[in-house]
């Protein structure tokens, strides 16, 4: 029977760190894609306004569309963050469970 609570907690913390670290790139990657596509849309809007394809009212309306899209993007970031937290927490629980099961079998 060997159950070292300090070692178990350290393993759990290590798993959380690794899991969050590996997945944090997903948030950065999504945010970069959002920003890149926003840049392209704003450039298109500016070109269309300069060429007279849209007027000032159209431009204001499109900026409202951008606000709505930003709201959706922030909800996506919330979903990605929850996925990271859920995966990290469940990985830590798995470590604790495996350690306890190993201690019982000894």
């Amino acid at each position: 029977m060997a159950f070292d609570i300090n070692e178990t907690l350290a393993n759990m913390l290590g798993t959380i760190k690794t899991s969050v670290g590996e997945n944090w790139g997903d948030v950065k990657s999504a945010m970069n894609e959002f920003m890149q596509s926003r840049k392209e849309r704003l450039e298109l809007l500016a070109d269309m306004r300069i060429q007279g394809q849209i007027d000032d009212d159209d431009l204001k309306s499109r900026l409202d569309d951008e606000k709505l899209l930003l709201d959706s993007e922030l909800h996506d970031v919330a979903i990605i963050s929850k996925e990271i937290a859920q995966n990290a927490a469940n990985a830590a629980i798995d470590i604790l469970q495996k350690t306890i099961l190993a201690a019982i079998k000894l």
């Binding site: 899209l69 909800h75 996925e83 859920q86 469940n90 469970q97 201690a103």
Partner: protein, 143 residues
């Protein structure tokens, strides 16, 4: 020693059923519906762009507007019905609100400019892409 063992077994049993759940399960049918609606919207605006601007009266497009509106309402309702799904519900609402705005403008103007066709398609595609990204991360969440 006996008490210690019982405690470990009890904790182990509790952990077996203890999972952290912050997101709903991935739903492949919702993901497919998002993709098919996105295609319908692309087809709608690409066809519209091919039609002479003099023939772009709102009444010529009502059946397609209704068809796509029904799909967007269905996606919204599917997302509302799932627990822990407030974020996707809000994105679905945003996509629906955007669609309604574009439809109402076309109805009020009774025509639509080339630039608006292009931009409406881009903004609807972006909203549905945000919705699809949300579904993708539910797929990789552990349960």
């Amino acid at each position: 020693m006996k008490n210690y063992l019982i405690t470990l077994i009890t904790v182990s049993i509790l952990l077996t059923s203890c999972r952290v759940t912050l997101l709903p399960n991935y739903d492949a049918s919702v993901a497919r519906q998002i993709d098919s609606t996105n295609k319908m919207i692309d087809r709608f605006y690409l066809n519209m762009a091919e039609i002479n601007s003099a023939q772009r009266q709102y009444s010529n497009f009502v059946p397609d507007y209704v068809k796509i509106e029904v799909e967007l309402i269905s996606i919204l309702n599917e997302n509302k019905a799932r627990t822990l799904n407030k974020d996707s519900e809000k994105i679905s609402q945003n996509a629906f609100d955007e669609w309604e705005k574009y439809k109402d403008k076309h109805k009020a103007d009774n025509t639509i400019k080339d630039a608006d066709i292009k931009l409406n398609r881009i903004y609807m595609d972006e909203q549905l892409l945000r919705l699809r990204i949300g579904e993708k991360f539910k797929q990789t969440a552990t349960h």
